[in-house]
Assembly symmetry: D2
Homo-oligomer: 142 residues x 4
């Protein structure tokens, strides 16, 4: 898997753990969600204000669990756009131990460009396409 240009650190909370004393599987979704939103704000696609303006809605998520995360481990999530369709944006993630580099999980999500004010899907705005393509070194969008 190629490198990521953006990583977001996550603090493992006691409240993320389940009776197996490792991070509950649903929290992996919370970790990649957090990385996604911070990343979208970082790129300037969202101004960090109203969530009505966030412009994407989740359509599909896949997580491969590789190794458990325990309390006290320092974790980071690599996140990037992998592919842009007409309306859909595919993102890849890598959840890693920041200190050892051990990969804890990989994930892929598909979002659809969405206008929350009208409640309808929209083509990816040109401005988004330009910013994303440049930052994540995407080739010609398919």
């Amino acid at each position: 898997m190629p490198e990521f240009r953006y990583y977001h650190p996550i603090e493992v909370r006691y409240g993320d753990l389940d009776p197996q004393a490792h991070v509950n599987n649903a929290r992996f979704m919370t970790y990649i969600e957090q990385a996604r939103i911070v990343y979208v704000r970082h790129l300037g696609l969202w101004d960090g204000g109203s969530f009505q303006d966030i412009g994407i809605i989740l359509a599909d998520a896949h997580i491969a669990y590789l190794s458990p995360i325990v309390f006290g481990q320092q974790v980071r999530v690599g996140v990037r756009f992998a592919r842009l369709g007409n309306k859909s944006l595919t993102m890849d993630y890598s959840i890693e131990d920041s200190q050892t580099g051990e990969q804890k999980a990989t994930a892929t999500t598909v979002q659809v460009a969405y206008n929350y004010h009208t409640g309808s899907t929209i083509p990816i705005p040109d401005k988004w396409r330009k910013i994303i393509t440049e930052f994540d070194n995407l080739g010609t969008p398919s």
Copy 2:
């Protein structure tokens, strides 16, 4: 502690548990929150539509933890209004094992009547006061 006229059942989720294999303490807040909202809808104080119309905001919460809750136990939350001020509404809760009656926790929360559209506190509406006083057998409001 007096009896409750309204109880709401809660299913304990695996996702509510922590490494001690009992329900995490923060989830007790989620359980009483769920009972509170369903109860407010039950009384007709909220129509179940927009959360902008729910009319109360939490100001204070106290929970006394009496006994752990484990997976597979059937739980219910007794909820009632205990006291009405000018703007504040105090509610009492009892988290119980539905089958054995064992009390798991007691809780009290104070809410303030709130207009989310204007972002300001308001006096308790007369209609609310009437409904609450009748349902929960409150005496003359203080």
Copy 3:
């Protein structure tokens, strides 16, 4: 998609909602996790006691989000085993509105048979294979 022989009802909690006022995407994982565990107990594969004896560990999860879930909707999760490997067990899920039948999401997870006491993967026990194959009408396991 074929029918499910087992459904588990889920109460949507206020605490499951996010700023879009619908159930947060990570909670879908919690919903299917709950259905999975209750189902495994229902089949007698787990006795409902120690989670050290639950015998499976999650390896992979995929969710397709079809329609948002809002507060007050009655939800159920259809769950079944779809495929048994040597060590892996694939499960399918359907998250649905119990009243209208509208499908909210479909999901697939892959678990691996696991001995938590020794911390190692194991072949699926014959007893499990027999119970699962009969209940879920699986053909000859691949």
Copy 4:
């Protein structure tokens, strides 16, 4: 309220927010829980290994909500021991905006010294009493 000698930073997660677009009230409990556990490890009362060795169990919690927390705010939790009884340990918390210093909530919890291996309460170990009294400048324990 006096100053705290220990603060723990918390990242507000999108997954902490509710339909009012602020941090859900139950998450305040998660925030102070995280601060408590990290603090107990910081003081050397817990070695950060098995949660069976953490030595305290929550008996009582009180939170006063002063101001909502929104996404993007930088938050920290001040935490300290306030009082030691024979078996009980009272802790105070202040949830604050790290940048403006605005106080978001105050909280108090009461823990009981607890041996998870035997499932019974115990007197506060002398070693604990010494460490805590010195670090938090407690006077003669009551």
